[in-house]
Subunit: 376 residues, 2 copies
Amino acid sequence: MKFTVLKTSGRARLGRLELPHGVIDTPVFMPVGTQAAVKAISPEELEAIGAQIILCNAYHLYLRPGHELIREAGGLNAFMNWKRPILTDSGGFQVFSLKGMRKIGEDGVLFQSHIDGSKHFFTPEKVMEIEQALGADIAMAFDECAPWPDEKPSVEAAMERTSRWARRCRQSHVQQEQALFGIVQGGTYGDLRARSAEQLMDIGFPGYGIGGLSVGEPKEEMYRILETLDPILPTEKPRYLMGVGSPDCLIEGVLRGVDMFDCVLPTRTARTGTLLTSRGKLNIRNACHTRDFSPVDPECGCPLCRNYSRAYLRHLFMAGEILACRLATYHNLQFLTDLMAKIRRAIANDSLVKFKEDFFIKYGYIDSFSADDHAQ
Amino acid sequence: MKFTVLKTSGRARLGRLELPHGVIDTPVFMPVGTQAAVKAISPEELEAIGAQIILCNAYHLYLRPGHELIREAGGLNAFMNWKRPILTDSGGFQVFSLKGMRKIGEDGVLFQSHIDGSKHFFTPEKVMEIEQALGADIAMAFDECAPWPDEKPSVEAAMERTSRWARRCRQSHVQQEQALFGIVQGGTYGDLRARSAEQLMDIGFPGYGIGGLSVGEPKEEMYRILETLDPILPTEKPRYLMGVGSPDCLIEGVLRGVDMFDCVLPTRTARTGTLLTSRGKLNIRNACHTRDFSPVDPECGCPLCRNYSRAYLRHLFMAGEILACRLATYHNLQFLTDLMAKIRRAIANDSLVKFKEDFFIKYGYIDSFSADDHAQ
C-alpha cells in the first residue's frame, strides 16, 4: 500500500491511495457491504456509480458463510465478483454491541452468534486469521469499543487493551499485500485519544482508524476529538473515521483531516424512503410526492433520476416493491459518491469552506441527521 | 393490433403480434409486473433479458396508486419507463379470490380492498374505464372466474355471466389503439368451454384469453380443455392461456395451440431460491451448494451465471440479502425467455415433440411443479 498526500487546504487533504485492487482518490466514502453484498445493489452497479472501495465485515462473514469458505473461493473479491479494493472491519464494534451475549477478557471475547446463539471466541490472533482468509486490501485491527457515555476509567481500560491487542494483531498479521490499520479509541476524552494514537504509532501501522465515534455523542464532541487527533496522527498515513457518513459529518471530517469514511446511512435510509438530493433530503413517502412527475433530483444522473418520477418511486415504496429499495439505494450512493468528488475538487481549488456554506448549510445538511442514522 | 400465424406444426403455431409498442414473436411468455413493477427487476433488465411484453394488473393499480394517477403520468408505459408492449389483466381473478370480502351481482362485484378494507364496486364498464386509463396495448375483459372444484350449474352461471359482461366490456371499450381480449370460462367442463368460446366469438374479439385454469385442477384436465378449444377458437386470432408458466405447462400449451402465457412462477419461485436450469430445477438453499463454486447454469448467459457461483448465491439467500432475489429472478426470467425462443425455433423446424423429449422429459420438468406454484 502506498499513500500520497497530493495537496492540503487548511487541514483537508487530497490524496491517492494505491492498493492491490486499484488506486483510490481520497477523501473517499466507502459503501458498506457487511455480508459481502451492498444491500440491494450489485457490484456492477457499484462500479457504474463510481464507488472506489467497499467495506465488508469480518464478524458477519466469519459467522456466515465462514472465512474458510471465502478463502476457498479465492478471497472476498472473487467470491462477490467485486474487482476494486475492499476494506474489512474486524468486527470489534459488532462483538461489543452484543449486549449480554459476550464476555470480555484480556485474551479475547467470548460471544454468542446473533444468528443461532452458538458460542465463539475472538482473540486478536483469531481475527487476523479471519481477515487474512478474507483477503481484503485493508484489514482493521481487533479493538475494544467502549460505549457512550461511559466513565473515564473504563474508557481508558478499553483504550489500553485496544493498544495491547493492536500489538498482537500486528505480530500475527503476516499477509504482505494486505495493509493492517490500527484503531484509535478513547471515547470523547481528548487525553485518552492522544495517548491511544501515540501508542498505536509506536507499534506502527500504514493507516489509522478512528473508532468509537458516532455512537450517540453530540457531533461537536466528535469534531473536537478529530481536532485533537489531527496534529498527532502522522500526515503521511491515511486516517479513516469509522462508521460516519452523513453529508454534514463527511465535510466536517474532511475539514479536520480525515481521508476515509464508511457508513450504512445512505443505504439504510434509502430503504425507508429517505433520499439525499442536491436540494436537501426528502422522504419520498410523503403525500406531497403522490402526483409529482418530476425526477427526485434533476441534477443527478443516476437511473432513478434519469428514468423515473417521484410519483413512481413513491408508488413502489407504498406497494412494498423491491425495486423501490434498489432505485433509492443506487441514488443515495450516487449522491454521496458525487459529493465526495465535489469535495475533492473543492480541496483542489481551496474552496471547501465556501462549498460547505453554498451546499451543506444552504440545503439543511448540517445537523439534518441524528446519530441514530449512523447506527451499525 | 395485427396477428399473423407464420407457420403451424401440428397444433403449435409460430406467430407475430403487432402492437402499438412493438412487435412480438409468439408463442410468448409474459413476465408479471402486477403493481407496475416486475418484482426485484428493473425495466432495463427486462429489456436485456429479452422480455417482449409484460403483464400488469388493473385491480391492483386501481387500488394503488390509482388509474387516474397513471393516466396523468401518460399511461403505464410512461409511468414505469417500460417501452415495450403491456397487457393488463382486468383483475377478475383477483376480485373473485377475495373470499368473504365480495358480493357478486349481475351488474358487477362489490368488494373490499385487500389493502385497507375500503369498499369498491367493479362493473364491466368501470373496469374498461380503468384499463383504458392505464393504456396498455392489450386489455382483458372483466370475467367471473369460478373456483375449482365446483358444481356444473354454478360454473355454467359464471360462464354465462362472463359472456354477458364481455358484451358490456366490448360496448364500453372505445380506445382504438388498445386491443380488448375476451376470456373463455367454463371450468373443466368441455361443453361449457365450447359454448363460452362460441358466445365470445359471436361478440367478436381480436384475441381470446383462456381463464380459470391452473387453479388447482389436475394438469390433464387443463390439457383436455385446451384440446377442446383448439378447433373452436379462430385460427387467425391469438390465444392466451392465463396464469400458466411452468416449463411443462408452457410446452404442453404450445403443443395445443396456445400463443401467449403469463405466470408469477419464475419470479415467485426465484425469491424462495428455486432456480430453473438447463439441467432441471434446483433449490439453491440446499446444503450441497454450500461450497459449490460453479455457476448455477453453465449454459446460461445471465449475470448470475456469468459472474457468481452457487456458493455465493446460496450465501446471499441464507443472509437474507435483496441481491439474492434480484439475481435469481433475473436468471429465471432469462431461462423462460430463452426457453420460449427455443420452442419457437422447434416449431419452425417441426421438432417440438422431439424437443419436449430431449429437454422437458429428460430433465424432469414434466410434472415437476404443482398447481400451487402457479397461484396468483
